[in-house]
Symmetry: C2
Subunit: 427 residues, 2 copies
């Protein structure tokens, strides 16, 4: 068996105007879909955060992949490193959203696992040591947001929408709005854990939102707050004091391992990160400084399934908890996350997902369905999902029409608030 073709398709998914420390989500979230086709007609799917750069790199990766056996992941990785000239030894130099080799390899590795699963008649999780759970819990991922639906509607809304589709359109800019969002999302999907994307409003406003969620949902609900590292150390400590006993974990309140370690020492709340410790090269610093209690994995950003299994071992070895991060994504990523999560013995938290915020899908049979806040682990071969090429073509058309070539939340924010600029430390 060898790889005969790689098809790379940038797509755009309708995305609502979600606020975060970097600005505002555009009406479309970009993803890149990879299909790898073998000489015996098996195809494997991968999905990664989209950008023109990632698409071009994946297209250029064809010269490494064509003729290669999809089981030869080590050789493929080495070939990509040779082609792109970026070894993981350099990954500490750039933020994870810019690590080209990691995104490229992650997309390809997932597609190769899909092929391996189909070729062997096994779900992907079985090629990762097998499932330790039959259902993977996800969390409700709450956002402050402006009114708007995203996609063709831009920041407009669809008056015909009902249920969660209507709730999703509503603005949520204060505690009441977020509580209503949480209730609507949990009603629809059954999520048991809740994460609030912070770093948007002054810290007191966000602390008040968390406390409102606690009051509305009961003290037993696991709550997380993620200010995306734009708080000063003293702000994070002062805010954190009000959240001790309330938060399940406190995610990246401050920037960098040193600052995280300082906050962690000052508080009695588990600290989590997907910003301070985001590559294997950061692990020695994490261990030396004690910068967090919990690492948020993400196979798109850590270098694929196998790298994440290895990260999980490192977490066990050094007493770190393990959770899972997400970006806006479609169902191929969700299926991949679910297989991976199923095979990680020490994954102890509900995984993040942006999936409820998107409505488009590239899968035959449409969108994956949460049951009681969880996804059942697919039992069919490979990832267990099939590509709907008509939908793919439509979403590629959206990509071409929307004019976006990379994510830039600052530019989107400036359309709403002229002159707004990102600040690495805001409060």
């Amino acid at each position: 068996m060898h790889i005969q073709e790689i098809r790379v398709t940038p797509i755009a998914l309708a995305d609502p105007p979600l606020l975060n420390a970097a600005g505002l989500h555009a009406p479309y979230a970009l993803r890149t879909i990879v299909e790898i086709v073998t000489n015996d007609g098996i195809y494997g799917l991968g999905e990664v955060p989209g950008s023109a750069d990632t698409t071009a790199a994946l297209e250029a990766a064809a010269e490494v992949l064509i003729g290669q056996d999809p089981f030869q992941l080590n050789a493929i990785y080495r070939g990509l490193v040779e082609r792109f000239g970026v070894d993981d030894a350099q990954r500490h130099l750039v933020a994870w959203e810019h690590r080209r080799i990691v995104h490229v390899y992650s997309a390809i590795e997932v597609a190769c696992f899909d092929i391996m699963g189909k070729a062997t008649g096994r779900p992907v999780c079985d090629l990762l040591g097998g499932r330790v759970r039959d259902r993977v819990d996800y969390s409700a991922y709450l956002f402050y947001k402006y009114e708007g639906a995203g996609g063709e509607l831009g920041f407009g809304t669809d008056p015909q929408a009902t249920g969660w589709a209507a709730a999703r359109q509503r603005a949520a800019l204060d505690p009441d709005g977020i509580v209503a969002q949480a209730q609507a999302m949990c009603r629809e999907f059954g999520f048991k854990s809740i994460k609030l994307k912070g770093g948007v409003f002054p810290p007191d406003h966000e602390v008040a939102t968390i406390l409102a969620l606690r009051d509305a949902l009961g003290p037993g609900t696991p709550l997380r707050l993620d200010p995306n590292a734009v708080w000063k150390v003293e702000t994070a400590i002062a805010s954190g004091r009000m959240l001790e006993g309330v938060l399940e974990y406190y995610e990246d309140p401050v920037r960098g391992q040193e600052a995280m370690a300082t906050v962690r020492r000052a508080l009695n709340i588990p600290l989590a990160t997907n910003m301070a410790t985001t590559a294997f090269e950061h692990i020695p610093g994490s261990v030396r400084l004690g910068s967090e209690d919990i690492i948020l994995s993400d196979h798109h950003h850590w270098g694929g399934f196998r790298a994440t299994v290895e990260l999980a071992r490192i977490c066990r070895t050094f007493g770190r908890g393990l959770s899972m991060h997400s970006n806006s994504h479609a169902g191929i990523s969700l299926a991949a996350m679910t297989h991976l999560a199923a095979a990680l013995p020490n994954l102890a938290y509900a995984c993040d997902t942006h999936y409820p915020w998107q409505s488009d899908e590239v899968l035959v049979k449409g969108r994956l369905k949460f049951e009681d806040g969880a996804l059942p682990v697919p039992t069919g071969p490979g990832l267990g999902v099939e590509l709907d090429r008509t939908k793919l073509a439509e979403l590629h058309e959206s990509y071409l029409c929307c004019g976006l070539t990379r994510r830039d939340d600052q530019v989107e924010m400036q359309k709403m608030q002229p002159g707004w600029v990102f600040q690495a430390t805001r409060w």
Copy 2:
């Protein structure tokens, strides 16, 4: 597919009277062979260091395994931990040769990988990320020894023996004897790297042996010395000073991570270990203290193939080199080591093997053959070796006849030197 049967067979391999810090090898080395048979008639092979305790534990493991899918390694591990009540969190409490759960799981995991490979038509290394090399280099493993062949001959010799079979019988108690042993072994197998098991004679004698090897084989030959931790720190430093620029690495000159770190700081030679850092629980101490430069993996003792791949990632993450340890073993272990080594990108040293010292084999087609110091990675499905059940029965008979139920090098040594006792620190 599910596991229908597990067959556990203790065997004894003829073994020469090899000297080491713990005493003397008995005329037989014990191994336990595991066959796992599935309902569709596939069988998988595993091999681990033998003892009555390991055999009993593997037999008891049947209640966990029967009915289980061999791909469900995480579930099998969890089941074994539940059955034996020893989690890897406790592995730091016992020396690695006594870690029952690790030996049991390692044997079973290798057999399951053999099954997975056969079921999918893939060599085992392809299920570990694929080969990064087509040949795995091994090292010449030299021992001070008494005259003797081992096995039925005990400490006698076979006068008909020729070539390496004759050389293997000869005593080697001084530098000249070891140089002759090295030359005979390298002539026969083509090894390029050389390891001397030390900790047997006073340090000056062993240093002189290394220097004699350097003189006889040329300064370009990678040489290693392993005193098995019986030297004092000051002895190890004084001896090490004479070996700077001579040794490729200095393996476990002293006992424990603190002492290793002290020796490492004092010398300009890479320090290696399979005694100070031997479990994931030891990694934090290794990182904190800087106890070694190189970790010797061993899938039998670290918990199987996947654990070793994870160890390899830890070594890359923390700037440790990676090599591979061995005990006396037969061809199932050698095939497993070769597949694993083929899939470890950062394995940078020739692997240890005792294989030339054994002459028995349980494989159809007999003993695996080194070519120019290396083994070609098997390309057939699974481990790529088949069990010769006639040979297995014979070697089981040897086990029953030899009367040994566990390795005890002190008892063997006392037969030669009455009153000899092991000393944890001898010089």
